[in-house]
Symmetry: C2
Subunit: 243 residues, 2 copies
DNA sequence: ACCTGAACACCGTTCAAGT
DNA sequence: ACCTGAACACCGTTCAAGT
């Protein structure tokens, strides 16, 4: 099979190492470097020398820099914590925990949020997270592919919240504290007094407020879908029972 | 004021040109080049020569490449069409139109979706779009800062849907048709038979399905909030009337 | 006020050659 | 099977110098 779709996950793996560098080791070093210096600062040369190897040595374990970034991103998906460890917890609690976990994980590794727009999240860890979430929806009563769609809805919202926020931090050169955010927003919203007034209310309340508001809406909407579907299901089964 | 926050939008502008290159001209050329060759292919040198100038000439009009990218991104926000031109249309129609407009605009300029995770969207056009949406929510009855939060919820969902999809296209080197997507997903979901089964149902239905499902949920959730708020408002005012 | 060219300090990647 | 070094074709940005 040709690797028409250019991704690590779509080409045959090389057999594991015997000695020297390993792909795992390279990816771990890359994540460390990314955490320390950010996406712009990662170069094959720097990573190589961090590992005591020539930059070009990496190319035996990895086809190119892009593949390395895909592997590093999947590593971050692997850090998104379990949410459904407590089976007694309801769907809403589980989703709230998941959403905050995902948010916190991406914020802790800001480069990963940027990468989400650059390389596909189709590695094993990304799938593990996605399937865990899908399963939770299925167990809550979402039928067939709706469970998958529902999981995509929650994840999209979180990603859509975090990614632009990371861009702000990137411009600022690090996490933006409340006061700095306020100064920036005052400056930039000069032509929109109503928005500026909103900022004055919202920013002091903390940066989770918009996230929680939106998440609440998303979860309400999903629960409404679930109710509608189970009601319809009951109606259909009682109709067939009547026959 | 020092420009602590490193963004075009936070430093004093230079007075407009008299002759030769202009910032507008540079930004327009950048957008054209980005549309034609993508984010990775944009270089100051290439852009300069496209304009018949030395690469370094650009640095008089723009502090650095990052500023240029901020300007280019804001240009795309400027392309997001009006949704509220028909005042008779309800909130839900308006939001649906907005969401699809934003999605289509980003997909038509894929580099812009990637940029959303790289540079902040705090330019005049981004604010224009945000304020138009906020105003629609306010007119529909969302009180105070809730209108702003509601607008952020919708935009987050759309961004969170489009950004990862762009990453897929980026890996493939262009838009992914249904058949290619199916082949890729079959390959990559090998360990998750339920997800694979969902793909077999969903992919043939077209790529707007997940978007429409999620958007429906988000809008349902927002409408529920609105109902709850107006009910509470009515209850409060009737309570005060009783006094 | 605006543009240029040379120069600096980097990049990712290929490939023949080594062990 | 794995690693190296040299080499290629690029980068973004600075800055003295020009008009």
């Amino acid at each position: 099979m040709t690797n028409q779709f250019g991704s690590v996950w779509t080409r045959a793996p090389r057999r594991p190492r015997t000695t020297g560098l390993s792909r795992d080791q390279i990816v771990r070093a890359a994540v460390t470097l990314l955490d320390k210096e950010g996406l712009d600062a990662l170069s094959m040369r720097k990573l190589g020398s961090e590992l005591g190897a020539g930059a070009t040595s990496l190319y035996w374990h990895v086809a190119n820099k892009n593949e390395l970034l895909e592997l590093a991103l999947d590593e971050i998906w692997g850090l998104v914590g379990e949410a459904g460890s407590d089976p007694a917890a309801g769907l809403r609690d589980l989703l709230t925990t998941y959403a905050h976990n995902l948010r916190a994980t991406l914020l802790a590794h800001p480069w990963s949020a940027t990468l989400i727009g650059q390389v596909p999240s189709i590695g094993p860890q990304a799938f593990r997270v996605g399937d865990r979430l899908r399963r939770a929806f299925a167990e809550a009563g979402f039928q067939g592919a709706d469970a998958y769609l529902a999981s995509g809805t929650v994840t999209s919202f979180v990603v859509g919240q975090v990614v632009p926020m990371i861009a702000m931090e990137h411009a600022h050169g690090g996490p933006v504290d409340r006061e700095t955010a306020m100064r920036l927003l005052e400056q930039v919203s000069a032509d929109y007094p109503e928005i500026r007034a909103d900022y004055r209310v919202l920013v002091p309340e903390g940066n989770t407020l918009g996230f929680d508001f939106g998440l609440g809406c998303v979860l309400d909407g999903l629960e409404a879908r679930l109710r509608a579907a189970t009601d319809a299901g009951r109606a259909a089964s009682s109709a067939s029972a009547r026959r």
